[in-house]
Structures are given as C-alpha cells and as structure tokens.
Amino acid sequence: MINRIIRQIQRYKGWFGGGAALCIFLGLYTGLLASPPDYYQGELVRIMYVHVPLAHTSTLAYSVLFGGSIWYLWKRDPLVDNMCQASASICALFTTLALITGSIWAKPTWNTWWTWDPRLVSFTVLLLILGGYLMLRRLVDDPMRGGRYAAILAIVGGIDLPIIKFSVEWWRTLHQPMSFSTRGVSISDDILIPLTLMSLGCWLLFAYMVMVRTQILYLTDLLHAKKGRLLSQTHFSQTTP
C-alpha cells in the first residue's frame, strides 16, 4: 500500500518543488524586507526565519525515517527502505544547517557559539544518530542486512525526538520555550507570517528532496542490476561453446 502511495506522490514531485520554491521566496522576502525588527533582538531576529524552519524540518524528517523504518521491518519493502535512506541523508543536512544557524544566532545573543544546553545537546545527538545510520548502511556488505540494522538504529534513536521537543520544559535551559503549543501561539503575526511561509517551504523542499533522492537510489539500483545482468549474459555467451 505504502509502495503505491509513494509511486502516486512521485508523480506530483514537480508541484512539491515549485511550491517549495514559491514559499521560500515569499518567506525570504517577508522575513528579510517586510517584517519589523524585534524589540529586544533588533535585526538579529531574522535569523529565526531560517533556523526554526530548518530545525522543524529536521525533526519532521526524522519522524518520516522513524515511521518508514517500522514499516520496512514489518513489510521489507525495498522502496520504503530507499525512502528511509533518502530521509536520513536529507535529515542530516537539515540538522547540520539548523545547528550551524543556531550557533550563528547564539553568538550575538548568548555571547557564545556553543553551550551545553539540553536542546543543543539533544539536537547534536540526533546528528550523531543520523551519522551512525548512514555509516551502518555503508559498512554492512549485504544491503538487506544493512537496511535492517539501520532501521533498528533509527527506531531506537527515535527516543531523541521527544527529548528534543520537551527539553526546554524538562530542564533549566538558555533556549527559548516552545512558541507553538496546546496553550496557543506566543508570537506576533508580523513574525508568524514569514516563519510559517519558510516552514511550509522547508517541509515541501524536504518532500521534494526525498522524492528525488529516492529516485536516485532506485535508478542506481536499477542500473547496477541491469549492468550485472548484461555482464553475466556476456560472460555466459563467451563461455558457452
């Protein structure tokens, strides 16, 4: 079923890419030019319009990886495995960028590039889990076995997601608390509009990137399989008297 859904969604890949480009351009325009500066942070608040969407998207990407890994262990669908691999590498990119932009924002506001804050540490742990996931896939010779081990690691690593989300409430932290919660939205509309546009743009971009990366993995496998078949056919025709 999931296999069919993925194939159906792949048909609309271009719409996801176009939507992402449009939302990101509108988000950049409103974030850089139309939104006002913050009372306390001044112009530095504009870093939020890239940092927060990147961080949100990386947790979304890991959620996709987590769900996909459970499905793969259950159904052993190679297309879902490809999608998990694609999600992991793109999640690693978004997580790295979220950490870099967060560090750039921390320097002028907290006066340090890095601090051992629970949110920062749990996010770095996410990057390490993703590094482990991608390395595991490369290190195990049998791709099926590698996929299985990596899926188990992704499921175990899923414990980091609630820690990231609630770290700002569970521990005393420098990081600001959640702006979106069941208690409501605690930011003004001027800031909310570019933030929403950028978040939507990043989610669509993530979906688009996963589709393209899944397609690359599929085509690479197909090419290898076909080349292997051709080689064995050639070898067979040469050795047969």
Binding site: K13, G17, L33, I47, V50, L93, P108, V212, L219
Partner: protein, 170 residues
C-alpha cells in the same frame, strides 16, 4: 538537461534579485554612519542613523516622558543630542546605540526621534547565505544526478520502461 539549467537559471536570478533588494534595503534604511562622518559631511535634510556611545555624566532629562539631552561620542568626535520621542527604556550612560534623527546645523545639535539596537548584520547574512547556498546546491546536484542516471541508462542501451516508473524524467 536544457530544461534543468533554464529552471535553475530562473531560481538563481530570483535569488540574486532578492539579495540585491535586501542589500539596497540595508543601505537605505539600516546602515549607520559615524559621528565624525556626520559632522564632516554637508548638513543632511534626510533622517540619518548614527552609531556611537552616550557619554558618561551627560545624560539628563525625563526618560519616561521620552525627553533627554546627552553627549554622543564616537572615538574623538562628539556631538550634542536632543532626544524627543518614545519613552527611552534602554538608554543609559556608556551605552552604545543607534540614533535616528536629523542634524540641526543652526543649533548645532542632533535632533533624535528614535533609537535602535546595534546589530551585526554579518551574522544574519552568514546564516542566510549558508542555508540558501547549501540547500540550493544540494537540490541542484540531486536534480543533475537524476538526469545523468537517465542518460547513462539510455546510452548504455539498458533502458527499459521500468526506469521511468519512479517519476518522469525532469
């Protein structure tokens, strides 16, 4: 391949245009000048943003009413400031800040109506450039890789209909 490069040329053009508009906005509305530059230049009729520090022992007036006078220094240059505007919550002696107002050449004072925080725009530019360049480059490289794979499959005469089953060629 041509379609891919055309699309990316459009995206690059739009990004450069946005970058240019942002730079222009920064130059017109956010860039500051030093006290020395203001005193050295011809009297400006347009509001200007000057950056400097409130000189110790010179701050007088009613901050809650938004009225104050003080000396504003920047290195060796200094000028007298008459502030009249919104209540000043974050002003104190030895504080470095940005004043927005006009130079009154007859009274030889700077008439400020607003204050702003000093921002290092390098941090904002760095965060945006790193994110946009990294994501843009990654998406471009991935799109190009799909094209190369399709070409490779076709050129090596291994093409079969299933190659197109995961989305169409871009």
């Amino acid at each position: 391949m041509t379609g891919l490069y055309t699309r990316w040329a459009l995206i690059l053009g739009a990004t450069l245009l946005l970058g240019f508009l942002t730079y222009q906005h920064y130059q017109q509305h956010l860039s500051t000048i030093s006290v020395g530059t203001l005193l050295g230049s011809s009297p400006a009729t347009q509001p200007v943003r000057i950056q400097g520090m409130v000189k110790s022992g010179t701050l007088k007036g009613d901050m809650e009413q938004g009225q104050a006078t003080f000396e504003f220094v920047d290195g060796a240059s200094s000028l007298a400031v008459v502030y009249q505007g919104p209540p000043l919550e974050n002003i104190r002696e030895l504080k470095t800040l940005v004043l927005i107002g006009r130079w009154d050449s007859q009274a030889q004072v700077f008439r400020a109506q607003e204050t702003a925080l000093i921002n290092n725009f390098g941090f904002v530019a760095a965060a945006y450039l790193i994110s946009v360049l990294a994501l843009g480059w990654m998406v471009f490289a991935m799109s190009q890789r799909v094209m190369v794979l399709f070409k490779e499959i076709k050129e090596s005469k291994l093409y079969e209909p299933e190659a197109g089953s995961l989305g169409n060629k871009e």
